[in-house]
Subunit: 305 residues, 2 copies
């Protein structure tokens, strides 16, 4: 199957599963309480439903598929990866953080629902992600140590050593013009790479992958995660707000060091290509499945939004 068709098919599967998972939460209350819970669920669905690439959950499905795991088994965990991503998008956009009014071409969550409900919706998505990974562990009938390992990986990828830590560094190093490429690497490995690597590793763990295979998926995830961020930095400087669906040039306005500002467009493009080439080598030994992961890596550097 061509990658474009594969992506389209998997995205449709994930969109449907996400809608089902979030509509089945909350409610059961009438009156003022029921109205408030419905509003919270609307806020959760709003940013989840914005037309995304669903890259992270697709990586989870692809990794699980490579290990022969049934799609229904892995689907909740795949949706959890998107929920964690959307948790971070909602909070990123808030006034206390990046203060962005647009997300994927639509008003940010807090512009529609207010800051308080946007915050609670983001919390609820992070929280629900644990339930969904747990559900996949049940469906895969993982024994206790493996199931707990899987959930602990989620904690690590989100926490101080992952997404949240990367966000903290990103915020506290704004306007520092002395950032080295090594610092940028640390920020993005944590802020973007950790969740992408997690998405692959959770899929592989549901398929009881051997430690060697897990390590390869993790490394592949880290490399394409970094490539993804390098491309993001390029696009922020070269594409319009209309194409991006979020304000273009926002990094420059924040005087934040980026791969683009450090390496220039040609240098950043070369770095992205190099990372993708290394990512492809990492999965070369996956045999028949390597081709899919090669195409996914190419997709990351070739995208325009």
């Amino acid at each position: 199957m061509e990658l474009a068709q594969y992506l389209e098919q998997k995205k449709a599967t994930i969109d449907a599963a996400l809608l089902e998972l979030v509509s089945s939460t909350g409610a059961g209350h009438g009156g003022a309480c029921g109205d408030a819970l419905e509003r919270l669920a609307e806020s959760m669905r709003y940013t989840l439903a914005l037309d995304g690439k669903r890259l992270r959950p697709i990586l989870t499905l692809a990794a699980a598929e490579a290990l022969g795991v049934d799609e229904q088994t892995v689907l909740p965990a795949a949706c959890a990866m998107e929920a964690i991503h959307v948790f971070s998008l909602i909070q990123d956009d808030m006034p206390a953080l990046d203060n962005d009014d647009l997300r994927r071409g639509k008003p940010s969550n807090h512009k529609v629902f207010g800051e308080a409900i946007a915050l609670l919706a983001s919390d609820a998505l992070l929280n629900a992600a644990y339930r969904w990974v747990s559900e996949s562990c049940r469906r895969a009938a993982l024994e206790a140590p493996n199931a707990l390992d899987c959930l602990d990986l989620v904690t690590d990828a989100i926490g101080e050593a992952g997404l949240i830590g990367g966000q903290a560094i990103d915020l506290l190093t704004e306007k520092r013009s002395d950032l080295l490429e090594a610092d940028l690497h640390t920020i993005h490995a944590m802020k973007t790479g950790a969740l992408i690597a997690l998405s692959l590793e959770v899929g592989a763990r549901l398929g009881r992958a051997a430690p060697e295979t897990l390590a390869r998926f993790r490394e592949y995830g880290r490399l394409i995660g970094l490539a993804f961020q390098v491309v993001d930095d390029i696009l922020d400087n070269t594409e319009s707000t209309e194409v991006l669906g979020k304000p273009a040039g926002s990094d420059a306005r924040r005087e934040r060091g980026t791969y683009y500002s450090l390496l220039g467009e040609a240098g950043a493009r070369a770095r992205a290509n190099e990372l993708v080439a290394r990512a492809k080598e990492t999965v070369a030994l996956l045999g028949a499945h390597a081709e899919r992961f090669h195409a996914l890596a190419d997709f990351i550097v070739d995208r325009h939004f």
Copy 2:
């Protein structure tokens, strides 16, 4: 052992364990990145370290003790209950929510660390709670379904049907003078009761309690959770800011319906006593351990802050 001595001893155990759990996260990075991660960890420790009663983790320890579980086994899960509580305190105080400048007599987290870091610290505490419950499940050697049940309970108590949902209702029903006691009950059962019930049930589950015992602990938790909130409403109207360590009279300023405004002081006091009496009946069958839970229930209505 007298309750006062028991509370003091357990609080010391929890304070030490919390400090160890949070100081062992993050770091390992130097320079700008290391500084930022250290700041995030400081923000997490700041609100965790404010002198609290540690009621929730003490309930977890007490429930586990009643079932013969070793203290070292249950300690991480007990700390998780406090981390979840502190996550909600940090967010409650933020300008988008209650906008309180004081917490336990000290400046709120966001007044010290800024809103962005306060938010990330709260996220990191919620996230870490999962790791700590998972650690206790490992130490208790729970088999997969029981371990996953335990983690799913955490998700339910925090999520749209628990703490976060209760917070959403509380926010969206502010200034509604038509709230019934049933609405208040729903709000507080979710916002306060769910986490208190969880604290007991997690302790009991680590001890592989029978379903009947779990149900009793859950019901006891719900009842003392509601009593706790009724007493909170009374104290907010009758004690000074100095004694409370947070601005007194804040409910009245928000025109928020409370047990105090609905029932009056005498009525609210009677309701708290009635809830505690029912809670005591619920655990009467716990035999030798009932006495401790009776004393804990009395402590909740007799407290002054």
